[in-house]
């Protein structure tokens, strides 16, 4: 384990280079690249607003600005998670040539996929900040929580990314299963709704480790509150576990990569 981490550190330049390549290729046509980073979050935010509007109509509660802000804040990290998992899942298959021909720590591929998606998240965040300023969300000291929550999200995405990347190399249908899970995952994750809407049953939704992170972001940005500490600790623990488990799983399968393709 220690050796493997040392080696990964030695190849950090390559991680940077592959990430740079992935971003560069995606943003080669700058207009399209920028749209790509914005398109998915914008679509999610718009569907979220429609869902919240419908909910408001049914419950005879008017749609508040804070609700819109909350949906917008939660959509971006969700879009990040979806795109990192999707890109990691294909990262080894798309780089078969390198996987089978040249030696280096292969976890660089899913990691670079996550980092490239993180870059998209930053681009989209720029747009989000403007949006939040326009709707006068305001700010508070709780914003310091953002980096911690985002880092937890990145750790979680990397862990899952490594698992699906390795698995999809051996089983070609993993890709489709992941795609289905990502599509319907949004209904099991508090993106369009708040956990509080479910009352006591809400805690079952927070068992999904992504839930507390999104709720935390919504709390500190849209509602100016502190995130729920114990649920945050749960997510962080889960993310670390996924990262460790994903790394061990990946490293265990890595020697067989060249033979399976």
């Amino acid at each position: 384990m220690k050796e493997e981490l040392k080696e990964l550190y030695k190849y950090r330049g390559l991680l940077y280079m592959i990430t740079y390549r992935d971003i560069k290729v995606r943003y080669k046509q700058s207009v399209m690249g920028f749209l790509w980073a914005i398109l998915m979050p914008v679509l999610i935010v718009m569907s979220g607003i429609i869902v919240r509007y419908a909910y408001g109509l049914a419950a005879h509660v008017p749609l508040r600005t804070a609700d819109i802000a909350s949906v917008a804040v939660k959509s971006l990290p969700w879009a990040f998670l979806v795109s990192s998992i999707r890109f990691s899942c294909n990262s080894l298959i798309n780089n078969q040539n390198l996987v089978t021909k040249i030696y280096f720590p292969k976890e660089i591929f899913p990691m670079a996929a996550v980092l490239a998606s993180l870059f998209d998240l930053f681009v989209a965040s720029g747009a989000l900040v403007i949006f939040l300023l326009v709707i006068h969300t305001g700010w508070s000291a709780y914003l310091v929580w953002i980096p911690l929550l985002v880092v937890t999200m990145v750790l979680l995405a990397t862990g899952i990314g490594m698992i699906v990347a390795a698995a999809s190399l051996f089983f070609r249908d993993v890709k489709f299963i992941v795609e289905v899970l990502l599509t319907f995952g949004i209904f099991f994750t508090p993106v369009f709704f708040e956990v509080s809407m479910f009352g006591d049953k809400g805690k079952w939704l927070l068992l999904n480790p992504v839930g507390p992170i999104l709720e935390g972001l919504s709390a500190c940005i849209a509602r100016h509150q502190s995130p729920d500490l114990s649920w945050f600790a749960y997510s962080l623990g889960f993310a670390l576990f996924a990262l460790l488990g994903g790394f061990v799983f990946f490293k265990h399968l890595e020697p067989a990569f060249a033979e399976s393709v």
Partner: protein
């Protein structure tokens, strides 16, 4: 640091033939099926095969070591294990020093990036740091010879340009241990020469080189020692010359023609020197090729033809008994015929394959043909290159004093096959 740069100890590699479950949809039913059927499991084991068995060798620091063998002998597997892409099933492998593999020189390229961007990307993949690449960038671009197009996306490159850029990056890695697989066949002749020179430079620089090739000529040119693999097993290890001889002795002895249907067939072809059967010769040495025919029914106006091709199947030499004034012989049923060609091997260094053809002279009917009846290796002590040996000598070698303000020097360069060059 020890003086051994690379060592393999009793390395075994097993592969599984046949069906591998590559989707969960297939795997899950198979797993449940397997729980009930123990027999299937055992049959699965039979489908394994060993790509490498008990491979052991050592390469000393600064040595160039060749691995030769036919397709499927396990060369590529050995390389993949050495470059750590695959793990051996059993045994161990030690590499001491920075290792670089020239296996697939363009693997790291991305179509949408420009040549310059790809140099950085590929260089990093091959283990160079960004600073290292920056310092060598000009050298790499100059070596590739595509300065003009360096800022064009590589998807617009021709295959040759692509490969040249790939090799240029790979050739500037400055490894301590270099693994080379059939990459010297990249680009045109001029570029190939450049590559070979660069390889020699790397070797002179003290790097250890492991060279895998079908091209016996380059193995002979580069390597001091070599190893011959056949079906995953080591057949011989030793000096490059010995191992090449062992390889030549094993190959090219199969006679494809269906002998029973033909009225005359070639039963035996042997190549020998003064001292008996032989496959290694020196330029200018004499060789005798013995041909034996057997007639199944009466045949007349026969002639035996000898073709010699080089390793690229280019015809180097052709003659026949008829053209040498011994044609038109007739064989009765059951008679055997023996003839011997005496040749003076005036070729330059290379691998040559004699082929024998029996035909009826007037109707040009072919009775039997033995392609690659033997393989011979021709070497020359003075490293003559090209097709033929013109037995060059330098008969004048002088520098004249500058008389009218111009300095004239004429050199006869023996190493270029006797061609004159003024410098």
């Amino acid at each position: 640091m020890s003086d051994v740069a690379l060592r393999m100890e009793h390395v075994y590699k097993k592969f599984r033939k046949g069906e591998i479950y590559n989707s969960l949809r297939d795997l899950l039913p198979a797993l449940t099926g397997r729980m009930f059927q123990q027999r299937e499991l055992r049959e699965n084991d039979k489908r394994e095969f060993w790509a490498l068995q008990d491979l052991s060798f050592e390469v000393k620091r600064g040595e160039a070591f060749g691995i030769i063998g036919q397709n499927g002998a396990g060369k590529s597997t050995a390389l993949k294990i050495l470059s750590r892409i695959m793990k051996p099933t059993k045994g161990c492998m030690v590499v001491d020093g920075r290792l670089s593999a020239l296996i697939e020189v363009t693997a790291g390229f991305h179509q949408d990036l420009t040549g310059r961007e790809n140099i950085f990307l590929h260089g990093t993949i091959l283990g160079m740091t960004k600073r290292e690449i920056e310092s060598k960038l000009d050298q790499i671009i100059a070596f590739s010879g595509i300065e003009e197009f360096i800022d064009t996306p590589v998807k617009r490159y021709s295959t040759g340009m692509f490969a040249r850029l790939g090799f240029s990056v790979a050739a500037h890695v400055d490894p301590e241990v270099l693994i080379v697989d059939e990459v010297l066949s990249v680009g045109d002749y001029v570029f190939q020469r450049k590559c070979v020179d660069r390889m020699k430079e790397v070797i002179r620089g003290g790097a250890t080189v492991l060279f895998v090739s079908h091209n016996l000529r380059s193995v002979a040119e580069f390597c001091q020692r070599a190893l011959l693999l056949d079906k995953g097993r080591t057949v011989s290890v030793g000096s490059a010359q010995e191992v090449i001889a062992a390889y030549l002795n094993r190959s090219g002895r199969e006679h494809a023609t269906d002998a029973n249907s033909s009225p005359v067939s070639i039963s035996k072809v042997t190549v020998r020197s003064e001292s008996g059967e032989c496959c290694q010769f020196q330029s200018g040495q004499k060789a005798w090729i013995d041909v034996e025919l057997i007639a199944r029914s009466r045949c007349s106006k026969l002639s035996v033809s000898l073709y010699i091709r080089d390793e690229y199947s280019t015809l180097v030499f052709n003659t026949s008994t008829e053209r040498l004034g011994h044609g038109n012989f007739t064989l009765e049923e059951g008679e055997a015929f023996l003839c011997t060609f005496e040749l003076q091997l005036n070729m330059a260094t290379g691998i040559f394959h004699p082929s024998i053809l029996v035909y009826r002279y007037d109707t040009q009917t072919e009775y039997d043909r033995w392609e690659t009846a033997a393989t011979i290796y021709v070497g020359s002590p003075d490293d003559v290159q090209g097709f033929v040996h013109c037995f060059p000598k330098v008969v004048r070698h002088e520098i004249r004093a500058a008389s009218d303000g111009r300095l004239t020097a004429i050199a006869l360069d023996a190493s270029r096959g006797g061609k004159c060059s003024a410098e």
